[in-house]
Symmetry: D5
Subunit: 93 residues, 10 copies
Amino acid sequence: MDVAIPDGIDPDVLAETIATEKAYSQELQRGGEWAHIWRCVGEYSNISIFDVADNDRLHEILWGLPLFKWMTCEVTALATHPSDIALLAPSAG
Amino acid sequence: MDVAIPDGIDPDVLAETIATEKAYSQELQRGGEWAHIWRCVGEYSNISIFDVADNDRLHEILWGLPLFKWMTCEVTALATHPSDIALLAPSAG
Amino acid sequence: MDVAIPDGIDPDVLAETIATEKAYSQELQRGGEWAHIWRCVGEYSNISIFDVADNDRLHEILWGLPLFKWMTCEVTALATHPSDIALLAPSAG
Amino acid sequence: MDVAIPDGIDPDVLAETIATEKAYSQELQRGGEWAHIWRCVGEYSNISIFDVADNDRLHEILWGLPLFKWMTCEVTALATHPSDIALLAPSAG
Amino acid sequence: MDVAIPDGIDPDVLAETIATEKAYSQELQRGGEWAHIWRCVGEYSNISIFDVADNDRLHEILWGLPLFKWMTCEVTALATHPSDIALLAPSAG
Amino acid sequence: MDVAIPDGIDPDVLAETIATEKAYSQELQRGGEWAHIWRCVGEYSNISIFDVADNDRLHEILWGLPLFKWMTCEVTALATHPSDIALLAPSAG
Amino acid sequence: MDVAIPDGIDPDVLAETIATEKAYSQELQRGGEWAHIWRCVGEYSNISIFDVADNDRLHEILWGLPLFKWMTCEVTALATHPSDIALLAPSAG
Amino acid sequence: MDVAIPDGIDPDVLAETIATEKAYSQELQRGGEWAHIWRCVGEYSNISIFDVADNDRLHEILWGLPLFKWMTCEVTALATHPSDIALLAPSAG
Amino acid sequence: MDVAIPDGIDPDVLAETIATEKAYSQELQRGGEWAHIWRCVGEYSNISIFDVADNDRLHEILWGLPLFKWMTCEVTALATHPSDIALLAPSAG
Amino acid sequence: MDVAIPDGIDPDVLAETIATEKAYSQELQRGGEWAHIWRCVGEYSNISIFDVADNDRLHEILWGLPLFKWMTCEVTALATHPSDIALLAPSAG
């Protein structure tokens, strides 16, 4: 997710939007659907891992991001890796 | 990490190399340096997250992969994201 | 899915692999998971639509393709489009 | 089809244009020329399949999209795939 | 259409294939389906214009090229341009 | 030739420029220098073939296009193809 | 780091921002974290080498650049090279 | 060197800048540092060859171009080619 | 023009081909059609300027290069630049 | 500089070539022309800074690398950056 905020945005509107974005993300992190988030060094962008029921739910989450209109998202479908040690646990999910 | 195994490799050598690769990865996962691994759907490649002391250690791990000679790796430097809820915990790392 | 068959493959092995591939695809089409398949004009490649339970199942299908080792796959996550007339039907899925 | 709506568009004009776009798409879906439409997850874009008489008709449809001036379209020519099970039916089209 | 002939091909086989390719192309040119062909300067590739009934026929023509297995084709769907003076003629096709 | 018309252009100025562009193109088509023009399906762009004395003349034609300032042109040098049936005619040009 | 300053910036604000940027860079160079800086010939961009404690610190430095909002940064993780003669010194770091 | 002049520039300012640019280029051509200049057909760009003392001087020349702020430059380091017939002359430079 | 010589070429054949290539290039340089040649630093490639009658002649020259089968050529059409001081001379060509 | 060593190279020849490469690099480092070398994490490639008299000398160094035939080099021309603190020293070079 790359964010490109156009010049000339009202600073108050921008600050409020970023605060709303943070709250939105943290609520989904607490709910477990937004599993991980990292900042890409030197960029206004992040790499996130989502654990959701299906593609429709993922699109709903991304489309609902307060900063969505200034974002470019790239989605990579991920699956369980056969070397993941979570598969070795008694009750691997 | 994309893997491209050339045609004509001896199947026994290949099977052994893949087994060694899996053991190598799982040992580092248990040690905590190889934090996450996911399979990219429809590709012989993975997306992994490493939590290592420095760049020299990361290179040592990747260079030591039994399949390294047939791999193409792309490394993205990641940092803590300000929205990460781990930062809200009493003792965030 | 692009297919690149290396020169020097035994023609009998190749013919058999292509036949197995076709049977594999048609069985999944009949089962409904491989929803659509089209040929890209002028290329040894196709565009297909899959309707599967989750990413693990999709990877299992693609990884199991008899021609997988000579293929390059690119997966795009798709969701229901709000303009799709299927949503207007009494019992849209 | 990617849509990029410039900042500063009058919200009423935009809402009306999107509504017109939806009606335009659904009429063509009902007529059978716009065979499929899916949303690309996390993007303001779609992948659609058209079943039209010729290239002139396809261009006429796309050029007539109410959102065309803010769109980037990429057209891939598709043909029947020899593995398509529709070819096995008594009267395949 | 780019052609990349691998090293090590038997020269006689190659010469015969190129001769067959030329005859194949010229027959389609005479039939009117292969409307134009130009050489890209400094490359073993060409730009061609086809005037065919539909995508299935175009794929059949390209797939049947004797050099197809060593080619990379890129197909661009073309339509009548509104500025084309052919549209001004009494019986424009 | 891709055309990207910026938002906010006066509609009358735009309509007049497009009309001038069409007249300019048709005059050169009648003169034989602008040999072919096709519309790329789903894009505000065209593929054209020019038959001109030299590069200076080609640049003069393109630079003189009324829409040139909003265009991106990509020029591919073309030569006669040895399979072109025009070479078989008694007086091939 | 590429810099793209939008047209229409107040020249005084710009001059002051560039001066602040220079002071910011030189302070970090003196502190040793910004190890090297070179200008890319013919571009408003630079290639720099940073020697920092971790990725969080590197992101903090880049994010804090006065010109950051007009920059595009690309970060490449570097490690010690086995051929580096610094490794041959009595107390290589 | 590609030039992209934004819409809305005052035509007088633009005309004067282009004239200054031309004089600047011609002075350097006469001095021998700007060895060659060609127009890329159909583009507002050129390919130039510079023969300068070092990279600092080349950057100074490019940075000083009156149109520099609207340009994108790509610099390729060139060296003497062993097949160059200038090397065969009695006093090759 | 990039050259990529495959491993396993007989060294004598290679040395002879390179010598033939050099002679071929120098003859065309003496004739004036191969106006300039430079080596790209750090690459087995060159940038050359040709001054030929037309595209057919340019293709004939490039296609005839002894190393052509291992080359990738990219041709850019160039025209006279309006700032070129050669235009100021009494008898500019 | 990326290195891609083809499968099937004799291991002894390879080991010797890598050793020669290391000695070659270290001699140039001691002489000051090869100013810096870093390993790109996770890749068989490096980023190096050269401080040489001119482009001909740089090409001579790179072309002479024992691994050159398996390398892909990308050269970026660098100049002194106006923010470099070396310029503030009494006798900046």
